[in-house]
């Protein structure tokens, strides 16, 4: 097995005049160095837009700090990394475009190969928001800013590609979140049909959305293919920080109005997200932020626009919450300000506005019975809320929702195979990525539920030898989709008597959603399911230390309550960091400035307050077992609840994340 290391760009926006690999090629242990000119197929990949270059070559242009110029292959990882530093590049450095709002009107194009600095726009409107605001008893007008965040999954990205030269095929071990997408992109790079490459999922050490785009799979697969030898490439932490997509920083200007009793009359929002260089799923994040702009509340009039802007800053893409965190930080902040104007509590204003089944929500969706979970969470947290307020603590409450599934008109397909082997074991194959959330456990539990199997007999596998996967494990849909497809496969098996040696395949399709802002659909079903959560932060008035967090979550049906709690606890930890300590800024050159794990501000164990989790089950119609989803929602209401608690403690309304306590010693 050989080892590979990447040479990354020194400039975020620069023309590449020359790449000199001679010193690297001559270094100890080096077998080969590959660059742009070695790519036989396409050099442009991407999960949606094919705008992300595998390599930047001579005569081409870089667009962000994670651009790859060469891959060096050697006998050991140490040799490869030492040699990668010897690649010499001549640049003609250009002006990095790093201000998102300015970039919209900048005459220069930030990202090579694109024709606009506007990646996407999303918008919808119902009623006359301006008129409703003008006629409202109370109006809040505030601009909120949230920060870029790094996923910091503990396992850096790693790929192993093993070619079979005789057969003309290759087996790639990938820690990505969508092995079918990895396979298709790798085959496009190599210029071969998709049946020539098998990608096998390696259960990976955390992802949170940061492993949806390929990181080093393309370059590593190419190197192995061209050499006819196995090649492994593992990123350093610094490379991981530079390469993979981050959480979007979003600037949100909000107007929210209510009547004298605190009932919302209108919400208007204008959002600008810095999406960094390549598309990734940036347009979808800003679409999601727009869709979730009004939180889980009934709003008679609404006017929302969001823009994703291309810059030379770090690429932004999928990260747990996917725009819903940012939007709901703003919406919850507006609601709390309105509550103060009206003279009612944070709980009371939410009770008066929470969405109910049959009501029109946000982009126009008529909510189904599943949305009863929103009020159920709010009611369930009330006793603890009242007790905390009565105790004299500073209390903050957040109520949030998050879609499960991509929705927005996507045809979402999930398949699974159940296969009985002669030796008495049972293979359960599904299409989703195990990254610590326990989707393999969910698949196993459904097989036990449907077939009455002994769990010790079951083996769960994910690889592309069967066409089971369609897209990324994302959007809080892993449990729902895996459970549905395994349930369907078990039904096939039962109908046929569970004969050994046969692939019993089941399929589940979600195809009843529509796009937001579509004039043909005034009441679109944007998402097939939502999860709901109420979170309360109890804070010491004097020290502003958080004493505890209470999280009440409606997950539809908890397939495994221990795993659900774990998701929620982990997400609250992330949400507290998002609220108070985490940041991933970049400088005027477009380079990230927090380049160590410690500098990211992730909370350590001693800084995490007790987290009290309660699971509520309001079944989701048309969903297997009533399942909703829980992967992302755990950090949606957290920052809003912290903001409200801080305000209760010191009277200061905060608009920018991360937030500082009033008596903090830290400089801003």
């Amino acid at each position: 097995m050989l080892h590979a290391a990447l040479h990354l760009t020194e400039h975020t926006r620069a023309d590449i005049l020359r790449i000199d690999t001679s010193a690297a090629e001559a270094a100890e242990g080096v077998v080969a160095v590959f660059t742009r000119r070695d790519v036989p197929g396409t050099n442009m990949v991407g999960i949606i837009h094919k705008d992300w270059p595998v390599f930047i070559g001579e005569g081409e242009r870089t667009s962000y700090a994670g651009d790859v110029l060469a891959i060096v292959v050697a006998g050991t990882r140490q040799q490869a990394r030492a040699a990668a530093a010897l690649v010499r590049v001549e640049y003609s450095v250009l002006r990095p475009i790093v201000d998102a709002e300015a970039a919209i009107d900048d005459p220069e194009i930030a990202v090579w190969g694109t024709d606009s600095n506007v990646l996407s726009r999303s918008e919808y409107a119902r009623g006359d928001a301006d008129a409703a605001l003008a006629a409202s008893a109370h109006v809040v007008h505030e601009t909120f800013r949230t920060q870029r965040i790094e996923h910091a999954f503990l396992e850096p990205e790693s790929t192993l590609a093993v070619p079979d030269t005789a057969a003309g095929t290759m087996h790639v071990y990938s820690g990505g979140q969508g092995v079918w997408d990895d396979r298709d992109q790798i085959c496009a790079i190599l210029g071969v049909a998709t049946d020539r490459v098998t990608v096998e999922l390696v259960s990976n050490g955390g992802a949170f959305g940061g492993k949806e785009d390929m990181s080093n799979q393309g370059q590593t697969a190419l190197a192995a293919w061209l050499l006819g030898r196995p090649v492994k490439c593992t990123l350093s932490r610094e490379e991981s920080l530079l390469i993979h997509a981050k959480r979007h920083p979003i600037r949100m200007e909000y107007w929210a109005g209510c009547d004298a009793e605190g009932r919302l009359t209108a919400v208007k929002a204008r959002m600008v997200g810095d999406s960094g260089a390549y598309a990734s799923v940036g347009m979808k994040v800003l679409e999601r932020a727009a869709g979730h702009a009004t939180g889980p509340y009934h709003t008679p009039a609404v006017d929302v626009q969001s823009v994703a802007v291309r810059t030379n800053n770090p690429v932004c893409g999928a990260f747990r919450g996917f725009g819903a965190n940012q939007a709901q930080f703003a919406m919850e902040g507006c609601l709390d300000r309105l509550a103060e104007m009206v003279g009612i509590s944070g709980w009371e204003i939410r009770k008066r506005n929470v969405i109910h089944p049959g009501e029109v929500w946000g982009p126009g969706q008529i909510m189904d019975e599943g949305c009863a979970g929103a009020e159920a969470c709010l009611d369930a947290i009330k006793p603890q809320y009242d007790a905390a307020v009565a105790s004299g603590a500073a209390v903050g409450l957040g109520l949030g929702l998050k879609n499960s599934g991509l929705g927005n008109g996507f045809r979402e397909v999930t398949r699974a195979v159940v296969r009985f082997e002669e030796d008495g074991t049972v293979e359960v194959r599904h299409g989703w990525t195990e990254m610590g959330q326990g989707v393999h456990t969910v698949a196993l539990q459904v097989a036990v539920e449907e077939l009455g199997l002994d769990p010790a007999r079951i083996r769960v596998i994910v690889d592309t030898t069967r066409q089971l996967g369609f897209g990324q494990t994302t959007g809080s849909r892993g449990t729902l989709m895996a459970a549905a497809s395994v349930q369907a496969a078990c039904a096939e098996a039962k109908a046929a008597g569970c004969a050994p040696g046969v692939d019993y395949t089941g399929e589940y399709v979600v195809d009843w959603t529509q796009h937001l802002g579509d004039p043909d659909h005034p009441n679109p079903t944007i998402h097939s399911a939502f999860g709901y959560a109420a979170q309360m932060v109890v804070m010491d008035r004097e020290t502003q230390a958080i004493e505890r967090v209470v999280a009440v979550h409606d997950v539809g049906r908890a397939v495994n309550p221990t795993l659900c709690e774990g998701q929620i606890e982990g997400a609250v930890h992330m949400g507290l960091g998002y609220a108070l300590t985490e940041d991933f800024p970049s400088d005027e050159r477009g380079f990230p400035t927090n380049m160590t794990l410690r500098s990211l501000g992730i909370l350590r164990a001693k800084d995490v307050p007790p987290i009290d989790v309660t699971i509520v089950e309001c079944p989701q119609p048309r969903s297997p077992y009533g399942i909703k989803g829980v992967g992302e929602i755990g950090l949606v209401p957290t920052a809003p609840a912290v903001a409200a608690a801080l305000h209760a403690a010191d009277g200061v309304w905060r608009t920018t994340l991360p937030m500082k306590p009033k008596n903090s010693d830290n400089d801003d």
């Binding site: 397939v559 609250v572 987290i611």
Partner: protein, 173 residues
């Protein structure tokens, strides 16, 4: 100038005497790449900020990517592979039963740190103290809640339920 590629460093790993090349950037690299001992994980080498590579050296928990190979000369190194099987099973059972792991990448390092505290204090180990000792460790999945539950269970000798999961709604892992 010394040719470090010629030099070797000798120490005991998990009860076995070994000699490794002195030229590894740190002990973690020697363990993983030369000796094939892969339970200590590389989350951020050489910065030593995540704790995933924590091993025990002469009975003390150490971040092995911050430990020069040459300093290991003559010492006793223990990784999870070298922990007595019965004892290791106590940890794996507790972590499984309590849901103390999700992706699992940080766990070998955390277990070595926990072991160093449990060995010293046993049932007297307080949760808040263990939380402080986890200061060298990052976990992005669990929020540390069930990690501390699991360590508490081991320290106190609390029996845990390690049944495999059943059907929909069961808690087993």
């Amino acid at each position: 100038m010394t040719d470090t590629a010629q030099q070797t460093v000798s120490f005991v790993v998990n009860g076995t005497p070994v000699s490794v090349r002195a030229g590894h950037p740190h002990l973690l690299a020697a363990l993983r790449e030369e000796l094939g001992i892969t339970s200590p994980k590389d989350g951020c080498s050489p910065s030593g900020q995540c704790g995933c590579c924590t091993v025990m050296i002469d009975g003390k928990a150490q971040v092995s990517c911050q430990y020069p190979v040459t300093r290991a000369e003559g010492r006793t190194v223990t990784t999870l592979e070298g922990v007595d099987q019965t004892e290791r099973k106590k940890y794996s059972d507790a972590f499984a039963a309590c849901g103390g792991l999700q992706c699992g990448f940080c766990i070998p390092g955390i277990v070595m740190r926990a072991k160093s505290q449990v060995d010293k204090k046993g049932a007297d180990l307080k949760r808040e103290d263990m939380a402080r000792h986890l200061g060298a460790h990052l976990c992005r999945c669990t929020g540390y809640v069930k990690v501390l539950d699991a360590i508490e269970a081991v320290a106190k000798g609390t029996p845990v339920d390690v049944s495999l999961p059943g059907g929909v709604g069961s808690r087993g892992l």
